[in-house]
Amino acid sequence: VVGASIAGLRAAGALRRAGFDGRVSLLGDEPLGPYQRPPLSKQYLSQSDTPTTPALRVPSDLDIDVQTGRRIDSVDFRSRQLLASDGWRMGFDGLVIATGARARRLKATEQRAGVHSLRTLADAQQIRAELNKRPQVVVVGAGFIGCEVAASCREAGLQVTVIDPLALPLQRVLGTHIGRFLAELHSEHGTRLLLGIGVAGLEGDRHVTGVRLTDGRLIAADMVVEGLGVIPETTWLERSGLRSVNGVDCDSRCRVLGLKRVVAAGDVARWRHPFFGGIRLEHWENAVLQGEAAALSLLHGDAAEPYAPVPFFWSDQYDVKLQLVGLPAEGDDFTVIDGTLAQRKCLGTFGDPESPSAVLAVNNPAAIHKYRSRVLCATAASQA
């Protein structure tokens, strides 16, 4: 299993639980073993006391060989071997690709001290260390990472500015209705939103001093966090001759197209969802479930179930917990079906309220899961 985060860990565990008794190796390139990523942009930044490393336990009874700090540089698919640049190699019968994604960065010339992306624990530690100096924070990109980092820094009492070329936060994922709600939420908490304007570059010699907007204005900054989304980590596969566009191409059972006994799971995998078609999800829950599904399909082949989850994710911003089940289509209207957005507690649907493409809960964690099957049914019906 290449990639020792949640998808890889779950895949390794599932192999064992399904009765596989051969050798299972979990290879990760980070110095630490598996840990939880979701808290890195949330509690890990906002908590004032030193937070504990959100490690994930690898059950010892599963007999998994965990190797940390092991970067795989390429694969020889013919001799079925993993290769590293230091001469290390390892043969395999079956391979789980779970290398996840890396943060998209501003171009290299913009990199200087005080500029961070947030993907790994090391990133989060660096950001936390700098937050103690109480910097003026500028977050580039109002996506999930951007919004969460902004909220966390604001809760720590720092001056925060969020810049995004779109007119509203998370507009592309959650539409204008929720986008407007989030914009109000952030403004209310004193986060400055600069929307509908791009970033031209960063200023400062060695340490960042400001962010230049495309219209020429300069925003002072001591720390810049890039929330520009992620790129699937497939460089090592491309080097091995496996071409991919936006993730590794898989069939409905997470098997990589054109290869035998190679599966992919998590952020890196783009598979044929029976109802949604070719999609790639960057959600925690998907990594958990797909890791397990990929392991089973590696063991059982066609006898395994096609992987058809209902997409689900959550996001914590200030005192608001957003949870979404399903995938809203572009232009789907948001309709409140319970509570109100103004009360900060509500439940609403995207698309036709009778057969919604997605359901969103605001501070309503108990209610949302009832809608999973309904969303799945609606999606299946719309495909039929």
Partner: protein
């Protein structure tokens, strides 16, 4: 030209024409020649002094650099709006053409900065010429509407010609060198922009008092009278429009170096209107002021844009207020406030006269004197 013009001026325009004729006469006399552009020079020097003394303040330096870049665009607009009497609201489009020209020249051919700026000006003249050839055949509002369309079209064109312009992402501009001044460093960039701006305003001032500039003002004041004196209205306007485009292009080129990236969002749709508002607020078409009003207006624009960064529409509100004040002061702009306030105390019982109507009369009297 001006004396004859004064005689034939229509009743409605007589007062301005006469006062302009008077000032023109005063300024053409050889011994007064040195006084022409003093207002502009003072305004520019104040900006330079603040910039040089506050070089450590990155934000302030950035605002002043932006103000100088804007001032060239606003000055070029003043030439068209203030001195030729054509209401153009597409200046940001020409600025955009210049910015994209520099960006593309820099990335594809690594042209020296001076050359890139000149080419940017020339390409803008090309676009402005095509625009002018058609738009200048229209009168009044119709001309304004065509320039508005042009201003809106340029960012859209850039967005859609993505093979050339990278669409939404924009074109990255590397640092250039202007006679040893690298645009990578804020202070050197400021100095380079100042030099270019100073040259541009010197050029504008010379142009204004050239034959073509006088023709332009004659056309503005009374088309019929100008025509009767053998001035071709169309070709005068077209030439002025071309000169204005050239300067707008240079302003855009500087903007490209300053921002480091040229994208459609560098040219917000309201930028042209902001230029116009800056011009009105600062004072436009004032013979005695030359282009000082443009500089003041541009400084105001840059300061307001930076100051209201977290509250986008506040800039519009304040600017709206400034424009109203400027219009109430008989369209003379902020600069005239200085004039009026210095004029008032010399009058007896000036406290009773501090009513806007009186102020206006005072200003007119003063100008006539």
């Amino acid at each position: 030209v001006t004396t004859r013009m004064g005689a034939t001026a229509s009743l409605k325009k007589r007062r301005t024409a006469q006062s302009d004729a008077l000032t023109a006469e005063r300024h053409t006399s050889a011994r007064r020649r040195g006084r022409r552009g003093w207002g502009t020079a003072v305004a520019l020097l104040v900006v330079l002094m603040i910039g040089l003394t506050q070089a450590g303040n990155v934000t302030l330096l950035s605002v002043l650099t932006m103000a100088l870049i804007y001032s060239i665009a606003v000055g070029s607009l003043d030439l068209v709006v203030g001195f030729t009497g054509l209401l153009s609201v597409g200046q940001a489009g020409l600025v955009g053409v210049g910015a994209y020209t520099v960006a593309l020249l820099e990335t594809k051919y690594a042209l020296p900065m001076v050359l890139a700026l000149l080419v940017a000006g020339l390409v803008s003249v090309l676009f402005g010429g095509v625009l002018g050839l058609s738009a200048l055949r229209l009168k009044g509002h119709y001309f304004t509407l065509v320039t508005l369309a042009f201003g809106l079209a340029v960012p859209q064109l850039a967005l859609n010609a993505s093979s050339l312009t990278n669409g939404d992402t924009g074109v990255v501009v590397d640092a250039g060198t202007f006679f040893g001044l690298s645009t990578a460093y804020p202070l050197e960039l400021f100095e380079a922009v100042f030099i270019v701006a100073a040259i541009c305003f010197l050029f504008l001032e010379r142009f204004l008092f050239s034959t073509l500039g006088r023709k332009a003002m004659a056309v503005r004041d009374d088309e019929l009278a100008a025509k009767a004196n053998g001035i071709s209205i169309y070709s005068t306007r077209l030439s002025v429009f071309g000169v204005s485009s050239f300067l707008a292009g240079i302003s855009g080129g500087l903007l490209a170096y300053f921002v480091g990236l040229v994208a459609p969002s560098s040219l917000p749709f309201d930028l042209s209107l902001f230029f116009l508002a800056a011009l009105i607020a600062g004072g436009s078409g004032r013979y005695t002021l030359c282009f000082a009003g443009s500089v003041v207006g541009a400084v105001l624009l840059a300061v307001l844009k930076q100051a209201t960064v977290s509250n986008g529409s506040l800039a519009e509100v304040i600017f709206g207020g400034a424009v109203i004040v400027a219009v109430v002061l008989s369209g003379r702009g902020i600069w005239s406030l200085v004039q009026i306030l210095t004029a008032v105390p010399s009058q007896r019982g000036w406290l009773r006269r501090v009513r806007l109507g009186k102020l206006r009369t005072l200003a007119t009297e003063r100008d006539a004197r």
